[in-house]
Symmetry: C2
Subunit: 424 residues, 2 copies
């Protein structure tokens, strides 16, 4: 009899007052969920609890009753509020013993720093009896308890990430070789309301397709996620492919910009590189955010050689050649000035495409005619210039983010509609 | 007998497969923890669970056994995987009834969009009997169960935030008027290792001070957080003040850049405005990130009128006047070019201060002499120019982020050390 592949689900316990108190977001949980998912492991509960020995011990016991594996992060450091090793010993009813190698390494490290800290070091190096140290140069240990693998990792993100990749995931993969394959695919939809996407996809008979569909608004973009689970990866890919084809035909391929981590910045960069075109960016109210997004992509120097942050009118005139009369007649936040900025940036850089943003990010500076959130975005090519007016809501940062995203959508549309952009 | 103020702790249940699957970080939990904390309410557990009716119902029952209030987010939408209202009815053993007003509003809204969605609307408008609708134009309801207030909020971040501020927090404040005051203060430390901060603060006898101290590395910055809890706010402030004075004297005031949300960008902006100085920014490998950080602060136009993203050598020469011979002799990533960029930006903008970043963000472009992560940062004033060489680790985005943060630290040091910067 062959073992059937199954879904392996585990639990994650993140320990730390700093998350409960709102000091930091739980970035570790997000990273661990992503990485596990990519290897076909699922989390069915994430629990955050403070640095309280009794609570941690109770939760450890509860978790072990209902999961195939357990990952715990945090509370392994040297300070008084690091109680995870003591709580684990209590939950598993094991004595605490000192790990000699780790204790030695800690002492050496601290003496290199000129720090004498022996009591705390001793405590950090204590682990429940039978625990195996994971990674020598940082906190972390492994325990197999009633056949359930339990991984205790430090809360410091870089250390946690390192041990997760180097130790936890390889160990899980060797323990659960017969798990289901699990693949997610994101379809990125531009310029369409979530309700409209829902309406169009109502025709999908998901039940018969062996996949499940999720919706996730991401700022101005909407993500349709397709999940497939099957005994092997190839079957997953086949299910995803069938569902994706139907989804794209219902939504319209002209509204789909890419899949998975193929963000607009990447798609735009690829398109510019394929055409051998350069782009120049001129920004007022977004202050460099659009340039920053474009240059976050490796190899952006192939198509972006310069960008301008022109906050003042003088900067717009001196750097982009926006006529002073135009600024006086229409104001810096106007369709005319946006177009002049895009054309000026294009000309200055000798680029095929210029894109410009000018607007009022607030919180002050709005008027009745041009309230906070008014943003003009212009694109210029040798053939034509186009401009669009937007009114965005939210805080200063949200308005800046909306404006930069909307500029990317405008660029993407321009680049995918080649009839409008003939630069030969 | 007067009631003594006490700490009010609640639990947060965030519902959604998208968090467990790693699609999105749990931003809602972070926001709720921050906002509650600011009003003197604490969370002692945050649990994330999938859209499974039975699991949600079990957890609701468990939570109610051990908290003073309960907040639940997510699972109130129209799709099949939104099960929170059904689970709540089951957990509280109440029938589901339709909320007429909400049902009407939903129908109207969808008919405005031309969407016929009657079955889903009916389901969205159902609530456990006795529930009070919170906010009409979005999902959300309130239930008092065995004297424990339970708030059910939508998972959509903007809607959740709105209802939290408008309904949940005011209601909690009226129900728990006699709670402890609880204040947190962050001291932001620059240019000092966490281990060194620990060493210096070992002298603090925290126990006798009525506060607790936490350490939180934030990128290149280290935060020392001081928590105080006392019957009233004034006593809290007094405790914080005493502790803060001691902490700053042990760390050295020259290493402390600000407190709470007084980030470097704000401190730098204030200093520039006070001096009546302007700044010009020239960036290569950070592609606009430093400008973006500076202009994220409202009113940045008072001191920044332009910034340059000069990716190519030609852009460095044309916009900033970096001599071609200098680029040929030293390469674009060099101390000499960084200084020339800072001076060029300063001159072009007629600003008192110029700052420039040039480096290799990777993943390609590194050499044995100048590996990926090599970044030069230069500051120029009328009196002098200075430059520093850095080697940052991590991904492209991390290197860019480190470089922009290091530039802010350099600027801050320059501005706080006025002997070095006399622009009169």
């Amino acid at each position: 009899m062959t073992e059937r592949p199954s879904q392996i689900t585990g639990m994650l316990l993140t320990i730390g007052d700093e998350i409960l108190l709102g000091d930091i977001p739980n970035g570790n949980a997000h990273h661990i969920a992503c990485e596990l998912r990519a290897r076909g492991f699922l989390l069915d509960r994430i629990i955050t609890v403070g640095d309280t020995e009794g609570e941690i011990a109770d939760l450890l016991r509860q978790c072990l009753d209902r999961c195939s594996f357990l990952i715990v992060t945090g509370g392994l450091g040297p300070t008084d509020d690091d109680r995870t090793n003591v709580a684990a010993a209590r939950a598993f009813d094991l004595p605490l013993v000192t790990n000699r190698d780790y204790s030695q390494w800690l002492k050496q490290r601290l003496s290199d720093w000129g720090i004498d800290w022996s009591r705390e070091v001793e405590r950090m190096a204590e682990m429940p009896e039978g625990a195996v140290k994971i990674g020598l140069e940082m906190a972390g240990f492994f325990l197999l308890h009633r056949q359930i693998p339990c991984y205790f990792l430090p809360g410091v993100p870089d250390e946690m990430k390192y041990l997760l990749a180097q130790a936890v995931i390889p160990d899980l993969e060797s323990r659960f070789p017969k798990r289901c394959s699990y693949i997610k695919q994101v379809v990125r939809v531009q310029g369409m309301l979530e309700a409209e996407i829902n309406r169009r996809l109502r025709e999908l008979e998901v039940e018969g397709m062996g996949v499940s569909i999720g919706y996730l608004p991401q700022g101005r973009e909407n993500w349709v996620t397709i999940f497939a689970s099957a005994p092997d990866e190839e079957q997953c890919r086949e299910l995803i492919k069938q569902a994706e084809d139907k989804i794209i035909s219902l939504i319209g391929s002209q509204n789909v910009s890419g899949r998975n981590d193929d963000c607009l910045e990447k798609v735009i960069g690829r398109s510019l590189r394929q055409h051998g075109w350069k782009i120049a960016v001129a920004e007022s109210c977004t202050g460099g955010l659009l340039s920053r997004k474009i240059t976050a992509i490796a190899g952006a120097s192939d198509y972006l050689d310069r960008g301008f942050v022109t906050y003042s009118n003088r900067a717009k005139t001196e750097l982009l050649g926006v006529p002073e009369e135009l600024l006086a007649a229409h104001g810096a936040v106007s369709a005319e000035v946006a177009v002049a900025m895009a054309e000026g940036a294009r000309g200055n850089a000798g680029a095929e495409v210029g894109i410009a943003i000018t607007g009022i990010a607030g919180p002050t500076g709005g008027t009745a005619q041009k309230p906070v959130g008014t943003v003009y975005i212009a694109c210029a090519t040798p053939e034509r210039s186009s401009v669009e007016k937007n009114l965005f809501g939210g805080t200063r940062e949200q308005i800046q983010e909306h404006a930069a995203q909307a500029a990317l959508v405008m660029l993407w549309k321009l680049l995918t509609n080649e009839r409008e952009l003939r630069c030969d």
